[in-house]
């Protein structure tokens, strides 16, 4: 019993921080309908600012005041006021993508502002971390642990006093219990939204500052784990129950404490299972809990569906303009290809080749998000599966890398299809959460093994040999051509699926899954298919990426990259093949251009932040901001042409939505 407790007790402080963030998640989700992934990054931000301030000699209370009491709620207020409030409550994907953008952008902004030097653990708030205050069940309790528990208890007591004692608190509590009711009553006032956002952001910041001294350094990864643990805790309460979220958070900390105590540090369990516990738990809860599954369902068949994107400009633009744009596009593409093969210097050639390879990975997002209508947060993981299979086969079995890449793509497709099985009943937010859990599971419990992600120094990957031509020695131009050929094949495959009956079914399912099922479309086959194809394409891209880089490490395919991918592709257009190619090439070119900037500005962070901001427009323009701009320019060009030559064939512009879309607030402004 005593060993049990002595293992359990050290888990409690961690559990407390999970619980605080979990409560914040439930609060905002139920009052505002937004599931804010960003809390992980917000916790990191407060912890980081607190650390920097104390390093600079600011006193602890003042640093706490600035980083937690002022900064955190201010950020929450701003996020609500300028971002989430503008998204229609029914636009599930829009809210999801925006929250992911916050999660991606904040750590990058921090690095841009403060540099990337290591920040060591900051001081605790008020107790001495080294001193043992007392023994609980013969386990020494130090100041750090005691302080975390005290702050958590005080927070929870204060919160319940506010929720019970004040008029505003009552309203928020009503919202947590029944958001629908509140909507009907019309009391979902702006004040309630602001207060909920500020309160829960404050809690995220608080959890961040409490957690910071527990790790040797302050880095974003630890806060991703905090986020997922909090997600699991919130999931235990079906994202609706504050006391259960509290219990769940603490329990998760205790379970982790027990696991790390009982599994010997050298065992597989300790290295593999322990870091994966929160993700496994989250995945199990998502699949197993009925209430979570039905989170996005409602009896209103249109409630969960986004406003449909306007028809692609390919459909609406006139024939003359269409010809001009098509020819122009081909000329530009051809000019780029010829340039790379002739005069473009090596580093730019490498950049453009990477762009082509990335385009293949991004086409997988066109499949899953553009066609499947679901947000996946584990596309980089699928790419990694393909890359590691190809690399391991090449290194250990002498399999030619191109064959290995195809096998890797197949392997990733299998993983995708198997991963889709538990996800069959999930849509929208729960599905995205499940893919995130999968990505983190792979990052922590699969890729670190040398049989998977290779030894710590990375796994060498050969360049392909075609006949007697070694694409490594004859410069990378050969590889560029090879990558283009693969991209072409993939693009044709995607186009083919888009135009096939399956593409029609997917279009139907995106619009109304209950309507689609009512005519005989099997949503499960469609979902498995789209997951498998998408994962396979990502795997192929990943394997080519490895071969291009000539070495792969797990860090090349971590979950953060998956988040960045989503943000990038959503910006350029998730619906079209061109969108994916623009995303791939654009992302790499932008990074290369920014790399000429001095110091930390050249680190690629700006590119990610720019795309994160770009993706924030997704909620209003689901076709992608680049596609949106294209439409605007096309219309301008058409007006110009028509002024000169009055139209011969009438161009039909899409009329305002009526009929089916009654009741769905129109987000197109």
């Amino acid at each position: 019993m005593n060993t049990f407790l002595s293992y359990a007790v050290p888990g409690i402080p961690f559990g407390c921080t999970y619980a605080i963030v979990a409560i914040g998640l439930v609060l905002t989700y139920r009052t505002t309908g937004v599931f804010n992934f960003g809390f992980g990054a917000q916790a990191f931000l407060s912890a980081y600012v607190y650390t920097v301030l104390t390093e600079d000699g600011v006193s602890v209370p003042l640093a706490f005041l600035i980083s937690v009491v002022i900064l955190a709620p201010a950020l929450g207020w701003a996020l609500d006021r300028f971002l989430f409030r503008r998204i229609s409550p029914t636009n599930t994907t829009g809210k999801l993508v925006s929250a992911v953008a916050v999660l991606v952008a904040l750590p990058q902004i921090v690095t841009l502002l403060f540099g990337s030097s290591t920040r060591f653990a900051p001081p605790t708030l008020f107790l001495n971390p080294g001193r043992v205050y007392f023994h609980a069940f013969s386990t020494p309790i130090n100041g750090l642990e005691l302080e975390t528990v005290i702050v958590t208890v005080v927070t929870v007591v204060l919160l319940s006093l506010v929720l019970r004692g004040s008029q505003l608190g009552m309203t928020i509590r009503a919202a947590v219990e029944s958001p629908r009711l509140l909507e009907l009553e019309g009391v979902r006032s702006e004040r309630v939204l602001s207060v909920a956002w500020m309160g829960s952001s404050l809690m995220a910041g608080l959890a961040g500052v409490l957690l910071a001294p527990q790790y040797p350094t302050v880095q974003p990864e630890d806060y991703a784990i905090l986020l997922v643990a909090a997600l699991a805790a919130a999931a235990l309460g079906s994202l609706a129950d504050i006391p259960l979220a509290l219990v769940g958070g603490v329990a998760l900390g205790v379970i982790e404490g027990l696991a790390s105590g009982y599994f010997s540090p050298s065992s597989v369990w300790h290295t593999g299972l322990l870091p994966a516990i929160p993700f496994l738990l989250l995945a199990l809860l998502l699949v197993g809990r009925r209430r979570l599954r039905s989170l996005e369902e409602s009896d209103d068949p249109l409630a969960g569906c986004d406003p449909p994107p306007p028809p692609s400009i390919l459909v609406t633009r006139s024939h003359e303009l269409d010809r001009v744009v098509r020819v122009g596009g081909r000329v530009l593409a051809l000019a780029t290809i010829i340039s790379v093969l002739t005069w473009v210097p090596g580093d730019w050639g490498f950049t453009l080749t990477s762009g082509v390879v990335y385009s293949i990975v991004f086409l997988s997002i066109t499949l899953i998000t553009g066609m499947g209508g679901e947000v996946s947060l584990c596309q980089a993981t699928f790419a990694g599966v393909g890359a590691f299979i190809a690399a391991q086969l090449a290194v250990h079995h002498g399999v030619p890398i191109l064959l290995g890449a195809v096998i890797g793509a197949g392997g990733a497709a299998v993983v995708g299809a198997v991963g889709a099985l538990p996800a069959l009943r999930l849509r929208g937010l729960p599905l995205a959460l499940l893919t995130l859990a999968l990505a983190l599971l792979a990052d922590n419990a699969v890729f670190p093994y040398s049989w998977a992600g290779g030894p710590p120094g990375g796994l060498p990957v050969p360049r392909p040999m075609i006949g007697s031509i070694n694409l490594a020695t004859t410069s990378s131009k050969g590889f560029f051509v090879l990558a283009l050929a693969f991209l072409f094949v993939c693009a044709v495959a995607v186009k083919r699926v888009q135009r096939a009956t399956v593409g029609l079914y997917l279009g139907a399912l995106r619009g109304s899954s209950i309507g689609a099922e009512s005519v005989g479309i099997n949503p499960s086959t469609a979902k498995i298919l789209v997951f498998a194809l998408s994962a396979g394409m990502a795997g192929l891209g990943g394997a080519l990426y490895g071969s291009l880089q000539q070495t792969v490490t797990p860090a090349d395919f971590n979950y953060q990259l998956s988040l960045v991918f989503v943000v990038v592709v959503v910006t350029t257009g998730v619906r079209t093949i061109e969108g994916a190619i623009q995303a791939g090439v654009g992302f790499m070119v932008l990074q290369q251009l920014l790399s000429y900037l001095p110091g930390r500005w050249g680190g690629g962070g700006i590119a990610i932040v720019l795309f994160a901001f770009g993706s924030l427009t997704y909620a209003a323009h689901p076709e992608g901001v680049v596609e949106y701009e294209k439409r605007i320019w096309t219309q301008r060009a058409e007006r110009l042409i028509h002024r000169r030559h009055p139209p011969t064939n009438g161009v039909v512009m899409a009329a305002a939505p009526v009929g089916v879309l009654e009741g769905v607030p129109d987000e197109h402004v």
Binding site: A508, S512, G520, A654, L661
Partner: protein, 256 residues
């Protein structure tokens, strides 16, 4: 009344949502080529019954059968392939597809589904035979010249008629229509009535949930009246309208 008979038969169907009993041991039959009206005040459980037949909702107890084959536990898409066609009280069209694409998807996914794997590569363009069926169906519901119209630009009435066409194109055995006339203007209502009237000749049974009693009186062979989950009357339209229970349910207490 325990044997399953007719195209659609509902036996002792009960549904409760928590404490609320939405349907209580309801029996109902639709014979081939018969139009049965299902009427009753708001919240009577009409949509709940349709959802149980369509597979959108699993009943608490009781069963639904199509041509004598129990549908219990079958997913909605399976029921559709067996021959259950339906429309929704809140229109459930596919906002991204054109009118023609709606019918093509329903045709290919529905009862006469061609291959499995061909769906991956074939073109989503109607073949000559399919085009003929689509033309015929659009003609039937009065949307003949609207093949390439984006459904987001259609008025609500046309949406409801398109939804019916979508449900009918795969030649179902039974059509479950949940308040198809809601939001229709006079001309569209007349079109709806004429579409429904043609279904018996096609050997399709119809379960028509309606608030428009005029329409029910015109097209239905038989009427079932539901009130708070119970069948309170059944028979010809004029017959059921005479009964005291129905008058009370529709007009409230005090009228007897």
């Amino acid at each position: 009344m325990s044997e399953h008979q007719g195209v659609l038969s509902v036996r002792s169907l009960s549904v409760s949502f928590g404490g609320l009993v939405a349907l209580d041991r309801v029996d109902l039959d639709v014979a081939e080529g018969e139009i049965v009206g299902l009427i009753g005040p708001n919240g009577a459980g009409k949509s709940t019954l349709v959802n149980c037949a369509g597979g959108q909702l699993e009943p608490t107890s009781g069963s639904v059968a199509l041509d004598g084959v129990p549908l219990t536990g079958k997913a909605p898409y399976r029921r559709a392939r067996l021959g259950v066609g339906r429309t929704f009280q809140r229109v459930a069209l596919f906002p991204e597809l054109t009118v023609e694409a709606h019918l093509l998807a329903a045709l290919r996914a529905g009862r006469q589904r061609p291959g499995r794997w061909s769906e991956l590569v074939d073109h989503a363009r109607p073949s000559a035979a399919e085009a003929r069926q689509i033309d015929e169906m659009l003609g039937l519901v009065g949307l003949a010249d609207q093949h390439d119209t984006q459904v987001t630009t259609l008025p609500l009435g046309a949406c409801r008629l398109l939804e019916i066409a979508r449900a009918l194109i795969a030649r179902p055995r039974v059509l479950l229509a949940d308040e198809p006339s809601a939001g229709l203007d006079r001309r569209e209502s007349a079109m709806l009535a004429s579409v429904l009237a043609q279904l018996p000749a096609r050997e399709i049974g119809v379960l028509l949930v309606e608030h428009d009693l005029g329409l029910v009186a015109r097209v239905c062979d038989r009427v079932v009246v539901l009130d708070v989950g119970h069948v309170i009357a059944e028979g010809s339209f004029d017959g059921v309208m005479e009964t005291a229970e129905v008058r009370r349910a529709y007009l409230g207490q005090g009228v007897a």
